[in-house]
């Protein structure tokens, strides 16, 4: 290649990256608003705290720790039923996350501040709180509203979907940013409309970059799905717990539950790696 000249124009025409003169921290909404929210949040919490409350964990009997092969085999169909429920929640939840995540990524890139800000705040909020807490939140919210009647499985799907949508949106964002600015400029120079630019130029180039990350999130979502146990989803963990509590034998059900996860996670991880290899091969 010949000499590449530097040009004074910035390379990436990111609509969010508008030049702003330097301002003191207390005059920047990007600093003031989050700080204020954190302070208000702590104040509310401090005001809400009455007294620590008492917490007494129940003690379970140790049960029989010997391994019984017959019991193990006997439990397999139940385990598979639980696995199916967990897998179902994962797949539906993740499908929702893929779509919602893309919309969030678009929202975060929006030129309009009144779209960009709430979306960014929402993403950061969901990403920095545990899924477990979110599941309790959704369960309580659903109970509080009369005209919404969601089954436990649906609550788990909703929780997983929203939680992983925020992660997917960040992956999408990275993928979109990885498409060189020149591609946007070429689309402009051909007067391609926004829909054509996205569907024919940007997404086909962004998605291969993102697929490995999305695959990893799918595996992670599957491993998070047993948390549905706390909102009464009859999945893998619920299966193991209920056997332990009824038969007083913890060894077989938990071994089986672990096996159930391995059955899915290992092939999935393997598929993701294969995908990664294949993509790096195609993208010369």
């Amino acid at each position: 290649m010949g000499a590449t000249r530097t040009r004074q124009a910035p390379e990436a025409p990111d609509p969010a990256a508008v030049f702003r003169p330097h301002r003191r921290w207390y005059r920047r909404p990007g600093v003031v608003v989050p700080v204020a929210l954190v302070v208000i949040g702590y104040a509310l919490l401090a005001g809400a705290v009455q007294e620590p409350g008492s917490y007494a964990p129940e003690v379970y009997p140790d049960g029989d720790l010997r391994f019984d092969w017959n019991f193990f085999v006997y439990l397999v169909p139940m385990m598979l039923t639980g696995l199916l429920v967990t897998a179902k929640a994962t797949l539906w939840g993740f499908a929702a996350a893929l779509v919602l995540g893309f919309l969030l990524a678009l929202g975060r890139r929006s030129r309009r501040a009144w779209v960009r800000w709430p979306v960014t705040a929402g993403i950061e909020f969901v990403r920095s709180t545990p899924l477990l807490v979110q599941l309790f939140f959704w369960q309580a919210s659903v109970r509080a509203v009369d005209w919404i009647a969601l089954q436990p499985l649906e609550i788990l799907t909703l929780g997983l979907g929203i939680h992983y949508a925020t992660y997917c949106s960040e992956a999408y964002r990275a993928g979109i940013n990885s498409v060189p600015a020149g591609q946007w400029e070429a689309a402009t120079s051909l007067s391609l409309g926004p829909v054509t630019t996205w569907t024919r130029v940007i997404i086909p180039q962004a998605v291969p970059n993102v697929l490995p990350a999305l695959g990893n999130y799918l595996v992670a979502a599957f491993k998070d799905a047993p948390m549905g146990f706390i909102v009464n989803v009859h999945g893998l963990l619920f299966f193991a717990n209920s056997i332990r509590d009824t038969a007083f034998r913890p060894v077989e059900p938990y071994l089986l539950a672990g096996l159930g996860f391995l059955l899915v996670s290992i092939p999935a991880a393997w598929a993701v790696r294969l995908l990664e290899k294949r993509i790096s091969y195609e993208r010369i």
Partner: protein
């Protein structure tokens, strides 16, 4: 590179003109008018109150030192950068403004898109779509923007690729093409939109020296037709003097000297033009 150098190694050359490149821009050309255009990146002012008129079908070459803002002229015309102030007209229509009640107001996105569709641009780094074949690159805009059928777009795409001497590479992806071939596909892709104004931003600067000729030869064909307005930023002085109607010497955000190529390149009057040409030729 001198004119005699660029004449060799041309795959299409006069033969392409013989095949009727004139079909590229049947709509004719459009003029460009800059009035008081200013553009700054932070503290760096790259266009200073620029007035510039380009007549329909005129071929204007912009020269000047690196960082002088000459590329920004093209980028504001293509709406890749928005000017801070001033107006730009394409074919008598305001690009960034709409008139209502005799007053100019900032245009809506739709208006900008519509006016912009008369303009096409070829980039230094080609910016071909890497996931599409050469032919698909050329077909995309006619199908998606101009509502051509797939067959129409394919026929036209093949015709244009043939014109730039790359019919055999129609089904190859940009990754399989040389720099010169990529740039010729990019030119064909731009021509497929039948722009009334074509902008060329240092289109040979990223090429290996032996590949420059084939690209300049295609540009020469387009210039010979005289059916589209051409605004070129280039460092190929020989080529500039060959095809330009007018050469603009650009420095520090302003046109400091302009005129026919013989005068500006052969007998420059401004000190900075002399210094710049001396620097370009001595290396």
């Amino acid at each position: 590179m001198s004119a005699s150098d660029t004449a060799s190694g041309a795959p299409s050359g006069a033969a392409a003109a013989g095949r009727g490149l004139d079909q590229i821009s049947p709509e004719g050309a459009a003029g460009v008018r800059f009035r008081g255009v200013t553009k700054a990146f932070g503290a760096n002012v790259v266009l200073r109150d620029l007035d510039l008129d380009v007549a329909p079908a005129e071929r204007v070459v912009v020269i000047g030192p690196s960082g002088s803002g000459k590329t920004t002229i093209l980028r504001t015309t293509m709406t890749l950068e928005r000017p801070d102030s001033g107006t730009i007209e394409i074919g008598g229509r305001h690009l960034y403004h709409e008139e209502s009640d005799g007053r100019l107001r900032p245009a809506r996105e739709k208006h900008i898109r519509e006016v912009r569709s008369d303009v096409g641009m070829v980039f230094q780094h080609f910016n071909l779509f890497p996931h599409l074949t050469a032919l698909e690159n050329v077909m995309l805009a006619p199908m998606k923007v101009h509502g051509k059928s797939r067959e129409e777009a394919r026929d036209r795409g093949m015709y244009l690729l043939d014109t730039v001497g790359l019919a055999h590479a129609a089904n190859q992806t940009p990754g399989q093409l040389s720099g010169g071939q990529k740039q010729r596909v990019a030119i064909a892709r731009s021509c497929a939109c039948e722009p009334k104004v074509m902008l060329f931003d240092e289109v040979t600067s990223a090429l290996d020296p032996e590949l420059v000729g084939e690209v300049l030869s295609v540009l020469r064909d387009i210039a010979a037709l005289g059916t589209t307005t051409m605004l070129l930023v280039t460092h190929e002085m020989g080529f500039a003097s060959e095809i330009a109607d007018r050469v603009l010497m650009f420095d520090d955000g302003q046109v400091i000297e302009q005129g026919p190529p013989d005068q500006v390149l052969g007998d420059p009057r401004h000190e900075r033009t002399k210094a710049f040409l001396g620097a370009v030729r001595s290396h």
